[in-house]
């Protein structure tokens, strides 16, 4: 079935894609009530252009999760384009929707080819050859993101530094009112360390499996920029190294596919700063604590909708507690 906005979308895209004749195969990929992702092809001068539409219908502000730090879709598009200018691999944004287009808030971007599912990237034979190089390539992508000139983005993006991040999750944890002594210890451990965080760069905010597009040739793009902000670049490094994203391959610190030393080498080779392992560990601790508090939030969601999936994720907060034991008490990574 053709969605009601298809005609308006075509009219809007005629401004950006000269020679556009038709839109084909428009179909919904995912999304909740406030955020939709659609795939479609634009036929431009007889050529088929694969595209993605990200939109919130009626321009309604999106709700991604409780206390979410998501930016507006138009801001997300702005950050992606700024990053692409610095050489970051990301989908090209073709058009940012305007209110008068009548399609809602959002943007149209290039649809790229690759895989985002961790299980396939970590196990399928077609990724065997490239897998050992992925950590280095992720380091390169992150180094470029962190070198984006934020001057043009300053007025649009929130500044969320280490101390602010911790406060945000402390408040969330407190609001759930359920005792987790290991989380308390992690908050206490992180407080002075994150208060010392001084760097301010563009931060992707959610660079992990699911949001990294990978092909048998390597890392193709950083996707899903909705949590983009200005903050400490180590946040991105710590997040991709958090054990929750290693999918059982704990010895492969980076996303379950690579070594930290390779990520750091790629980071430096692409112009990134030389990073200390202890600082990376601090932000892995933050990543585990953050995911642990998010799991507690899943239980709150379960109490609203009774979802067995949310209930099960609620019980995964203990996984992050053992990760915190390994990091803080045992000094492992």
């Amino acid at each position: 079935m053709t969605p009601d906005f298809a005609g308006n979308l075509k009219n809007a895209l005629e401004k950006a894609l000269s020679g556009l004749s038709t839109l084909e195969k428009l179909n919904r990929l995912s999304g909740g009530a406030s955020q939709e992702t659609w795939a479609f092809d634009a036929i431009v001068n007889g050529e088929r252009l694969p595209l993605i539409l990200r939109r919130s219908p009626g321009g309604a502000p999106r709700v991604i999760g409780e206390g979410s730090a998501a930016v507006a879709l138009a801001t997300e598009a702005l950050a992606i384009e700024a990053a692409r200018k610095t050489g970051v691999k990301a989908p090209r944004v073709h058009y940012v929707l305007k209110p008068e287009d009548g399609v809602g808030e959002g943007y149209v971007m290039q649809r790229m080819v690759g895989e985002t599912i961790a299980r396939k990237i970590l196990r399928d034979a077609e990724f065997d050859a490239v897998r050992t190089d992925l950590a280095r390539q992720c380091g390169e992508v992150l180094a470029r993101i962190h070198q984006v000139d934020v001057a043009s983005l300053k007025d649009h993006l929130p500044v969320v530094d280490g101390a602010a991040q911790l406060r945000q999750y402390r408040d969330r944890y407190d609001s759930y009112d359920y005792p987790h002594p290991m989380f308390e210890l992690a908050f206490k451990w992180l407080e002075p360390r994150l208060a010392a965080s001084r760097q301010r760069t563009l931060v992707h905010g959610d660079f992990r499996h699911g949001n990294i597009l990978i092909s048998p040739e390597g890392v193709e793009a950083a996707l899903d920029w909705e949590l983009v902000h200005i903050g400490d670049p180590l946040e991105d490094i710590g997040w991709i190294c958090t054990n929750s994203w290693r999918f059982g391959q704990r010895d492969k610190v980076v996303g379950g596919f690579g070594d930290l030393k390779d990520l750091l080498a790629g980071y430096e080779a692409a112009g990134g700063a030389k990073l200390a392992i202890d600082d990376v560990r601090t932000w892995i601790v933050y990543g585990s604590l953050k995911w642990g508090v998010m799991c507690m939030g899943m239980y709150q969601g379960f109490r609203m909708d009774g979802s067995v999936e949310r209930a099960a994720i609620g019980r995964r907060s203990s996984e992050t507690e053992i990760d915190l034991v390994n990091l803080i008490i045992r000094g492992e990574i």
Binding site: P179, M182, E309
Partner: protein
């Protein structure tokens, strides 16, 4: 005294029914959620089997650490308060050991195959 079957046997029977009979008949999202439901019953089975011993030991350690009696909930809340205030730290004898043992016991119930447990 309740009659047979035991709680453990009932839960195990429901889990086996989901995995062996229901799941092969299901598709897509519903099949995925049936897998999640069966795994959740796995948590219940392990908690029934391992929970009493683990919680008994947890309450003993907390009593020694805090120097007072109370329910598991009361003692855990007090431990949280005292970690937050800085009264109890990693240097406090028994804290690191308590946190590690308690967490290992929890994960052994929730997700015994989790990589962090190895």
């Amino acid at each position: 005294m309740m009659d047979q079957p035991s709680m453990l046997e009932l839960v195990a029977a429901v889990r086996a029914f989901i995995e062996e009979r229901a799941m092969p008949e299901l598709k897509g999202h519903t099949a995925f959620h049936a897998r999640v439901a069966a795994n959740a019953l796995g948590i219940v089975v392990r908690e029934l089997e391992q929970g009493p011993k683990a919680q008994g030991e947890e309450i003993q350690r907390l009593t020694a650490l805090l120097g007072r009696d109370g329910t598991l909930d009361e003692l855990n809340r007090e431990l949280c308060r005292r970690i937050r205030s800085g009264d109890i730290t990693l240097e406090t004898p028994g804290l690191a050991d308590h946190l590690e043992r308690t967490t290992r016991d929890k994960v052994a119930i929730d997700q015994p195959k989790y990589s962090g447990l190895k």
